[in-house]
């Protein structure tokens, strides 16, 4: 076995009230992909942050090619040949794609001025290398979440790092983009670099990783070659007990039409979206990233103005001009972009959970903390949120736990109709099953659900019916029992044209 590029030994990191990492050791070999597995809050991102100089470890050492290192900023980590794609991206919306890629290490010409043409040329080359058709001069705010992720990947590649860390890089990507990413990973591997890969998706881990390290509650509970384990073994290692990954779909009596949407359109992103949604029904909206699903649902929810179309809830025509109208009527929307649109990271868990319908917690004139706490506890426990206390700021929670809080916020509004946009993004296997089960339970109590997801197993496991959108239009519909994965994907990509 070749000498490791990077070794961590005895690494520990504590935060007030939380032991995020305890005595973790691992080593990365050149030309290999190591996967870190663990539940939400197990300490995966903490390792990444320690390796990139964002957190200073409480104890332990980092060696790069045998040499002891201590990083106090991402710059130090770059200098040592370590670059990362973080779970929560930090990018500059008002700057161009090229500037974002080279932020902190822009190519300079004579007199140390930025060499713009060189920078744009190199940015274009990097983007081409990952097959991302994004012009380097575009401002970042014009890009979709997935495109931003590609920029993030290009940024990590721009460092020509020997160790490339990817913290849930695929969470925002669609199947094709994931294939592209894996091609890049294979290429990095062939070039003899070491890759640290974090994901909650086992198919990806088995497809791409050579080795694995498994964490539970901040401690290493297993490691080895990926070829030597099976998925159930890994799950048991992560959770500490066997887990039913898939709950059987509940048998729910589907009632009358609650929501009916007709001819929803806006100028550019979607046209003529129509559907009926019944009580207790889970309607899947499937499509490629960029098919207009999110945009259409945000139009329904009143975020962006729609140009045409009607929304009828329980027989009443709604005029939704702002999200507050939708919430009052009983429609909730769990946004896809957790960081920007979902979570308020500088507020606590309780304040986030109760934010969307504060009037429910008013006693007399003022908010009642006890009733806020009661609701937070109820939903937080049901969704298995891991935190030190319910007042903890969201910024201090792991990514998956933030996502659970955002879902809790929208369930706290006790809606009649809920639109879930990629609800289990970044959530671990066990919790995902818990979230699915909870969605199923709410449906059995009469909630109507629209589920936008790019994960086929999720939509096929949960939905009663699936609408497929492509280029802003609904192109096909399938009923449970009458679908196949091939047919749904075919409709989404336009491969199966003959279905008419």
């Amino acid at each position: 076995m070749s000498q490791p590029i990077l070794t961590l030994s005895g690494l520990s990191k504590s935060f007030p009230g939380v032991r995020a990492l305890h005595d973790v050791s691992l080593s990365l070999r050149p030309g290999s992909v190591t996967a870190i597995l663990g539940e939400n809050g197990a300490g995966k991102s903490t390792i990444v942050k320690v390796l990139t100089g964002i957190y200073r470890p409480s104890d332990g050492e980092i060696r790069v090619r045998g040499e002891l290192k201590s990083f106090s900023s991402p710059r130090d980590a770059w200098a040592a040949g370590i670059a990362a794609i973080h779970q929560e991206t930090v990018m500059f919306d008002e700057l161009s794609v090229a500037e974002n890629i080279f932020m902190g290490h822009m190519p300079t010409g004579p007199a140390r001025f930025v060499d713009w043409s060189e920078m744009h040329a190199r940015a274009a080359a990097l983007l081409k290398r990952i097959d991302a058709a994004i012009p380097p001069e575009f401002k970042l705010k014009r890009l979709s979440v997935a495109q931003k992720h590609l920029v993030e990947i290009a940024r990590a590649l721009s460092h020509e790092a020997q160790v490339v860390i990817m913290d849930e890089p695929t969470a925002a990507l669609s199947a094709n983009e994931i294939d592209d990413l894996f091609r890049i990973v294979a290429q990095l591997k062939a070039e003899g670099r070491a890759v640290l890969f974090i994901s909650h998706k086992f198919d990806e881990i088995f497809r791409i990783a050579d080795d694995f390290v498994c964490l539970r509650d901040g401690e290493k509970v297993g490691e080895g070659a990926i070829a030597s384990v099976t998925e159930p073994q890994l799950v048991r290692m992560m959770v500490g007990r066997p887990v039913d990954q898939v709950f059987p779909k509940r048998d729910v009596a589907i009632g009358d039409v609650v929501l009916s949407v007709a001819g929803l359109s806006n100028a550019t992103e979607y046209a003529d979206v129509s559907f009926d949604l019944r009580k207790g029904e889970i309607l899947g909206l499937y499509g490629l990233v960029g098919a207009g699903r999110t945009e259409a649902m945000q139009g329904l929810f009143g975020i962006t103005p729609k140009t045409r179309g009607t929304v009828t809830l329980e027989g009443r025509r709604l005029s939704i001009g702002a999200p507050s109208d939708a919430i009052t009527a009983g429609i909730s929307y769990v946004p896809e972009d957790r960081q920007e649109q979902g979570a308020i990271v500088s507020l606590g868990i309780r304040e986030n959970v109760t934010l969307a319908n504060l009037s429910k917690y008013i006693r007399g004139l003022f908010l009642s903390r006890t009733s806020e706490q009661a609701e937070t506890r109820r939903l937080g426990k049901r969704l298995a949120v891991k935190a030190a206390n319910w007042e903890q700021k969201l910024a201090e929670l792991s990514g998956g736990n933030q996502q659970k809080v955002v879902i809790a916020k929208w369930l706290a509004t006790r809606p009649k109709v809920i639109v879930l946009d990629e609800p289990t993004k970044g959530i671990d296997v066990g919790s995902k099953a818990a979230v699915h089960d909870f969605i199923g339970e709410l449906a059995s109590e009469g909630l109507a659900v629209v589920l936008i997801t790019s994960e086929l197993p999720e939509v096929m496991g949960l939905a009663d019916r699936v609408l497929v959108m492509k280029e802003g239009r609904v192109v096909d519909a399938f009923k449970r029992g009458q679908w196949s994965a091939e047919a749904i994907v075919g409709a989404a990509t336009g491969a199966a044209k003959e279905a008419a």
């Binding site: 007030p16 009230g17 200073r56 409480s58 104890d59 106090s72 887990v243 709950f247 059987p248 509940r250 048998d251 975020i303 702002a322 999200p323 507050s324 939708a326 919430i327 009052t328 929307y333 946004p335 920007e340 649109q341 979902g342 979570a343 308020i344 990271v345 500088s346 507020l347 304040e351 109760t354 934010l355 969307a356 319908n357 504060l358 917690y361 008013i362 004139l365 003022f366 908010l367 706490q373 506890r377 937080g380 426990k381 049901r382 298995a384 949120v385 891991k386 935190a387 030190a388 206390n389 319910w390 007042e391 903890q392 916020k409 066990g430 099953a433 818990a434 089960d437 909870f438 059995s444």
Partner: protein, 350 residues
């Protein structure tokens, strides 16, 4: 129906309702730092000057900062939601001029206050409209309206002064609204309180309750922390922003009325430079210019610290320039200390 309802995952974690109280966190709270500063100011001044701890002197000292402090309450909310209103002092002048004309037209005290507040309301609505309808940054808008409102006052008044006001109006501004009452016991008495300070205290309690106890207050914190997520959560972001500009305008108009009544005359340069004094109060009060952080208690404490520092220095005939140097140094020190402590704390050397 549900034959084998799966059991939810066991509760593996105990999640507390609230974090355990730790002394260091309490001591590092901004309000605590301000209380220490306030006590230090009082102690030092009492030692240096025998005239400092005199109820009448202290009551008179409040005249000098209460009008600004009233506006600071609205400014605190604006800064909390990442906005700012730099036109407040210009609104004071415009309102004061309106009051001057209204007094000449024979309005009584109630009519004069209403005139001031009404003018402020219009100015605030104008600011709010520009900021929310046209999505312009408030710093740009209010720098513009600062010149506009002040300019209108200067054009209309020239170097004229307005000096005719009904006596009842002047009394409201110049005498104590609550009179000194002794009870016979030396330490038990009702202190004299000027109207402006009384209004400030009442408004501070009101603003404190709204910001920290009501749904609207929570929504303001959410807007200041993440305006996009706030909008997604159904918070009427623009409506609330507009409202805050209106409130800021109204309180500026009210302050204009109190100031005119106190001075008994007004010129177009009335209240020049107040906007920065007010922003200073708010920042020293711990309201983050980045939004989402702050408390009314902090602003009240900062107002008292600044007011008493200025008063103490004037008692000792220290010139105004020295006062501003001291306040500047204080502001920088108080803002820097927690950051420095933070750095020391999160980066332990192992």
């Amino acid at each position: 129906m549900n034959m084998d309802t799966p059991v939810p995952p066991v509760d593996r974690y105990i999640v507390l309702d609230a974090p355990p109280r730790r002394l260091r966190d309490v001591l590092l709270r901004w309000e605590v730092i301000l209380v220490i500063l306030l006590v230090a100011t009082i102690v030092v001044n009492t030692i240096v000057s025998p005239y400092f701890l005199d109820v009448f002197n202290l009551a008179d000292a409040t005249f000098n900062f209460s009008e600004k402090a009233i506006i600071a309450l609205a400014m605190a909310l604006l800064i909390l939601v990442r906005e700012i209103d730099l036109s407040v002092a210009a609104i004071v002048a415009l309102a004061a001029m309106g009051i001057g004309y209204a007094a000449e037209a024979g309005f009584g005290p109630v009519g004069l206050f209403a005139t001031g507040i009404g003018i402020g309301l219009l100015c605030g609505a104008f600011n709010g409209m520009l900021v929310t309808w046209f999505s312009l940054p408030s710093i740009v808008v209010t720098i513009g309206t600062m010149s506009l409102f002040r300019g209108i006052t200067q054009v209309i008044l020239g170097d004229q002064a307005k000096t005719k006001y009904p006596q009842e109006f002047l009394d409201l501004g110049q005498s104590y609204f609550i009179k000194m009452k002794e009870t016979g016991i030396s330490w038990l008495f009702v202190p004299p309180v000027p109207l402006s300070f009384l209004i400030f205290l009442v408004l501070a309690v009101l603003f404190g309750l709204v910001l920290h106890k009501t749904a609207v207050g929570r929504q303001l914190f959410a807007i200041g922390s993440n305006p996009v997520a706030a909008r997604f959560s159904g918070i009427p972001v623009d409506k609330l922003r507009f409202l805050l500009f209106v409130v800021s305008g109204m309180l500026s108009g009210l302050a204009g009325a109190l100031l005119t009544a106190r001075l008994g005359s007004m010129r177009s340069n009335i209240g020049v430079g107040w906007e920065l004094d007010i922003v200073t109060m708010v920042i020293l009060g711990g309201v983050s210019i980045a939004g989402g952080v702050g408390s009314i208690l902090g602003v009240v404490l900062a107002v008292l610290v600044l007011g008493l520092v200025t008063f103490g220095m004037s008692l000792n005939n220290i010139p105004g320039q020295v006062v501003s140097v001291y306040i500047g140094a204080l502001l920088i020190a108080v803002i820097a200390i927690p950051r420095i402590l933070d750095k020391v704390r999160v980066r332990p050397i192992r």
